[in-house]
């Protein structure tokens, strides 16, 4: 018997500020629909008069999915992608009774628990070590957050430095409540890596869902290097996870040691510099953590007939490069991706999450053609929160936005600013 296929896709993009929240509704004949929620998180509210709370967004999702979610996808653990699953907004989503929850392989419960193997003797052991280390890094991010009030009061540590520390620290904490809520949600959980079969044929009839990332450590040496499967590689970061003292008390390193009552004259030039360098060190470490977490992001390709929808979460180059360059079937993947109809712009439009030549350069529908046939791009972002123009790291990256505006049908959440229109519906006929 031929499986039914969707006749159209409706995509709801919500302005949640700095974060991602997108609902896919696959509509079939006779008014039936199947729904997929891709991420539900925010670290900074939208910038207009009365921005929605996550509860507002959850209720809107409930309305638009007709009270039933079929699949929930949490691309990775960053707060700007999963924070909404915690608390009352999470309860609303849970009440929509999703059947399947899809997360990256790094989120498999228990994977980090038995991470004490002395050697990486199997791919799974390597994965365990990696996820255990991620757990410690989340703890480091939390401890960095604890230090911010003290750093903010330190001469020489600028407000922009502490702002960035706070932002990255908040993004990279463990988000335990949201993680727990996701684990409790749904009848079935899939922890996916490149090439995983998600078994969604019955849940989403006529829709193929292919996992293009993240690769496992065994699949991608680059991810392995990034993720420090080898103890050598990441000692600074991992060790700092233990080293950063928590609040309220900073422990006495040398009890009883003689200390100076005041900073001696010869040290007065240097001491504020040491304070600043400490803050910069912590910032560098949480930036690395941020990159590592982005590279655990799911990259999903939905295929309905010849229509392709590409959702890469926050994947950065290291994650992309396996599917686009190193996988045995990467040539075939690139060929198919060239026909992408809808592209969710990676990592809120950052400089290294939309591979410029390997991915963007291959999109056949990008250009000046018929708007009805052109590539549709979805950009969920909020400017001024991440990176800086002077360093060429601003999010969204100006050059990329110019390109998206010029060569695609861009839906930018920053344009959804009215109190009554903080979401946008995009209809893709099939």
């Amino acid at each position: 018997m031929t499986r039914p296929a969707p006749i159209r896709v409706r995509i709801f993009v919500y302005n949640v500020g700095f974060g991602d929240c997108i609902l896919l509704c696959f509509d079939y004949d006779q008014g039936r629909s199947r729904t997929v929620l891709v991420d539900f998180g925010s670290t900074q509210k939208a910038q207009f008069g009365a921005p929605p709370s996550m509860n507002d967004v959850a209720r809107e999702i409930g309305e638009q999915c007709g009270g039933k979610l079929d699949v929930v996808i949490a691309t990775h653990r960053h707060a700007d992608h999963i924070s909404g699953f915690a608390g009352s907004s999470g309860a609303v989503i849970s009440g929509l009774q999703p059947e399947v929850v899809v997360q990256p392989w790094t989120e498999e419960p228990g994977l980090a628990v038995d991470a004490t193997d002395s050697a990486v003797s199997s791919p799974r052991a390597g994965n365990r070590k990696f996820t255990a280390r991620l757990d410690r890094l989340h703890a480091a991010a939390a401890q960095v957050l604890h230090q911010i009030p003290r750093l903010a009061a330190t001469p020489g540590v600028t407000a922009s430095l502490t702002d960035e520390l706070r932002f990255l620290g908040e993004t990279n904490i463990k988000n335990a409540e949201a993680v727990k809520a996701l684990q409790a949600m749904g009848d079935r959980h899939e922890y996916a890596s490149f090439g995983s079969d998600l078994g969604l044929a019955d849940v989403l009839p006529g829709v193929g869902v292919e996992v293009l990332g993240p690769p496992t450590l065994a699949q991608s040496p680059e991810i392995a290097a990034m993720a420090a499967s080898d103890a050598d590689e990441f000692w600074h970061l991992a060790a700092t996870a233990d080293a950063v003292p928590g609040q309220p008390s900073v422990r006495d390193l040398f009890p009883g040691a003689r200390t100076a009552r005041r900073v001696p004259q010869e040290a007065r030039w240097l001491v504020p510099r040491i304070d600043k360098m400490q803050a910069e060190e912590l910032l560098s470490l949480v930036r690395i953590l941020d990159d590592v977490m982005n590279n655990t992001s799911l990259i999903l390709l939905f295929t309905i007939g010849e229509t392709l929808l590409l959702f890469p979460g926050d994947a950065q180059l290291e994650n992309w490069s396996y599917a686009l360059q190193r996988a045995p079937n990467s040539a075939d993947i690139c060929a198919r991706l060239s026909q992408t109809r809808v592209y969710k712009v990676g990592h809120h439009g950052s400089l290294n999450s939309t591979p410029r030549t390997m991915l963007w350069g291959g999109f056949a529908r990008a250009g000046q053609g018929d708007p009805a046939e052109r590539l549709i791009t979805l950009l969920s972002t909020r400017a001024g929160k991440h990176g800086s123009e002077s360093r060429g790291t601003e999010v969204p990256r100006g050059r990329l936005v110019e390109e998206l505006e010029a060569r695609s049908e861009l839906v930018n959440t920053q344009d959804c600013r009215a109190a009554s229109g903080w979401w946008r519906e995009v209809v893709v006929p099939l």
């Binding site: 002395s118 050697a119 230090q147 003290r150 040496p221 680059e222 290097a225 990034m226 420090a228 103890a231 050598d232 590689e233 990441f234 000692w235 600074h236 970061l237 060790a239 700092t240 233990d242 080293a243 950063v244 003292p245 900073v250 006495d252 390193l253 040398f254 040691a257 003689r258 200390t259 100076a260 900073v263 001696p264 010869e266 040290a267 240097l270 001491v271 510099r273 040491i274 360098m277 400490q278 910069e280 060190e281 912590l282 560098s284 470490l285 690395i288 180059l317 290291e318 490069s321 400089l351 290294n352 410029r356 390997m358 123009e389 002077s390 360093r391 060429g392 790291t393 990256r397 050059r399």
Partner: protein
């Protein structure tokens, strides 16, 4: 090393994880006598014991204390930590000055390097040129606190960064994969070879590692079978920063780097993973370590086939390490001032050694280093059979140049260069300056006669846009905007003999259409810089050393052509 007038200070020989008979291994190191004050503070080093995490300023420590401290004092007394860094930094500085035959300035205007033994609770240690300081962090592992300031290798490594910055400031700049790696490699080489100057430490480590599990050693002797390359390689002598990572196997020790384990392979440097500066640096370190090991084992085999006198074994190791380390440090004077490649350094070291120590029959060190480097794909840039730079046969015009001043006055040296710019092939239109000029006095080890030289470095640059690259025989890398600002660099090191005659002219010149090799090199530099993001908006190399230490292997796939 001979220090005529010296004081002694006790330091941790490796780090607190390296113990013999259950105690932390310490050693006495000799330092030049100076009027050291509490801090310790001397004329070149100022220890400032401030902890930014706990906001604590520890009291100044007594400067010298050769007493043998207990393990508890080593771990729990910040004053010992302060003396430990002071001692190791000063000893490393003295080692450089001995090799170079002159005083060595830091890479900043002041004369005192600030050293902060407990800077913050961050697992990192680095040299900050902006703050004129070495900063050592600390971190917890389980119940233990790991102090990077107690690691001999970490302290010497960071001090070497500071010294190298003073000697060749341009080597801190982005230029090529080799140059980025060289700072790390050179610092590792100095850290590893410095251990051998502490002979008692080497003796005890030989006992501890080579003797372990072998036939029972007689008093003062160790089984020759235990002194085999594989056994020695596994010891703490060839491991860098043992304490920074946990033990990986119960029978051995962990280490931040153990470059000696890198098997020779002529193609290593061409592999993608060896574009990373730490990995690439390990190739040079491995080549030097293998050369050292080969010579040492050869000498040990000559000492006997059954039992080997332990003291003699350590002495041989110390002698070889001293020669090799002196060769490496002295080689810096013979490197081009910009855009260094490993092959340049190899030729420089071999030349420096040949000039002062022509007779190499005792160790055959130069020949061994040459072959060991070849096994790792590092070939001398000189292209000569012995790897040394070719001597210059140019006769410089010296009309109006005062020889007395040319040895130390950059302006006088520039006058000499200006008068000979055609002969030296230095374009007069480029922005040019003499970055350094130093008289050097080195002593031939065999006959004790002095070798006097003057070493000067002249740097040139031109600022152009990418659209103008064609004028210099270059082309912009794909994706580079024509308006991109580009600085092309060139430079020459001139080595004059005691009569002011040109002995060596070691140059990486500005590219020129008619100079194919200079163009090839400059194009490779340009491509590397573009690929590594040096032309991206806001790119800065300030604090680069801290980042290099932190970001091992995290920049693998950041292909410049893929980012926005």
């Amino acid at each position: 090393m001979a220090v005529s007038s010296s004081a002694q200070i006790r330091v941790v020989a490796q780090d607190p994880s390296v113990r013999v008979d259950g105690r932390i291994l310490t050693a006495l190191v000799s330092l030049p006598v100076e009027d050291a004050r509490e801090g310790p503070t001397g004329h070149r080093v100022q220890v400032i014991d401030y902890d930014a995490t706990t906001r604590t300023m520890y009291a100044r420590a007594r400067p010298l204390d050769p007493a043998d401290p207990s393990d508890e004092d080593i771990m729990g007394d910040p004053a010992f930590h302060a003396r430990n860094v002071y001692g190791l930094v000063m000893a490393t500085l003295a080692r450089f000055e001995y090799a170079l035959g002159r005083r060595v300035a830091w890479g900043f205007p002041g004369h005192q390097l600030k050293v902060v033994p407990h800077a913050f609770a961050v697992a990192n240690a680095f040299y900050s040129p902006d703050s004129e300081a070495l900063l050592f962090g600390y971190f917890d592992r389980g119940e233990r606190t790991i102090f990077t300031c107690l690691s001999h290798d970490v302290v010497v490594h960071e001090t070497t960064h500071a010294l190298l910055h003073g000697l060749r400031g341009r080597f801190l700049r982005a230029s090529s994969a080799d140059q980025a790696a060289f700072h790390e490699a050179f610092a590792d080489v100095v850290a590893l070879l410095s251990v051998f100057s502490m002979r008692e430490v080497v003796q005890r480590l030989i006992d501890h590692y080579a003797g372990r599990g072998s036939r029972a050693s007689r008093k003062g002797a160790v089984s020759a079978s235990a002194l085999q390359p594989d056994r020695l390689k596994r010891s703490a002598l060839f491991a860098l920063a043992e304490e920074m990572v946990p033990e990986r196997d119960p029978g051995g020790i962990g280490a931040l780097r153990r470059s000696v384990d890198l098997e020779p392979d002529q193609n290593l440097l061409n592999r993608l993973e060896f574009r990373d500066s730490h990995r690439r640096g390990e190739v040079l370190v491995a080549a030097v370590c293998h050369a050292f090991l080969e010579v040492w084992v050869r000498r040990l085999q000559a000492l006997g086939t059954d039992m080997v006198d332990r003291e003699r074994a350590a002495e041989e190791g110390a002698g070889i390490a001293e020669q090799l380390l002196t060769m490496a440090i002295r080689g810096l004077d013979y490197t081009p001032p910009v855009d260094l490649l490993f092959g340049d350094f190899l030729s420089a070291a071999l030349t420096a050694d040949t000039e002062v120590r022509p007779n190499d029959e005792r160790y055959h060190l130069r020949e061994t280093l040459l072959s060991s480097c070849a096994a790792y794909g590092i070939r001398p840039a000189s292209g000569t059979p012995d790897g040394c730079w070719r001597r210059s046969d140019k006769q410089l015009r010296r009309t109006g140049v005062r020889f007395g001043s040319v040895q130390s006055d950059p302006t006088e040296m520039f006058r000499l260069i200006w008068a000979n710019h055609r002969c030296l092939r230095l374009p007069v239109t480029a922005y040019s300056w003499v970055s350094d000029v130093r008289p050097c006095l080195r002593i031939e080890p065999e006959d004790g006669l002095p070798v006097r030289e003057t070493v000067a470095t002249c740097i040139q640059h031109v600022k152009i846009t990418a659209a103008e690259l064609g004028d210099y025989g270059l082309h912009p890398p794909p994706g580079m905007h024509p308006d991109t600002d580009i600085v092309l660099e060139g430079g020459s090191t001139l080595v004059l003999d005691e009569y002011g005659l040109l002995k060596f002219e070691i140059s990486n010149r500005l590219p020129k259409r008619t100079d194919e090799s200079a163009c090839k090199r400059a194009q490779a530099r340009l491509d590397y810089l573009f690929e590594s993001g040096a032309y991206a908006a806001g790119s800065a190399f300030r604090g680069r050393l801290a980042a290099v230490h932190r970001l091992r292997s995290t920049q693998t796939a950041s292909s410049r052509s893929e980012v926005w």
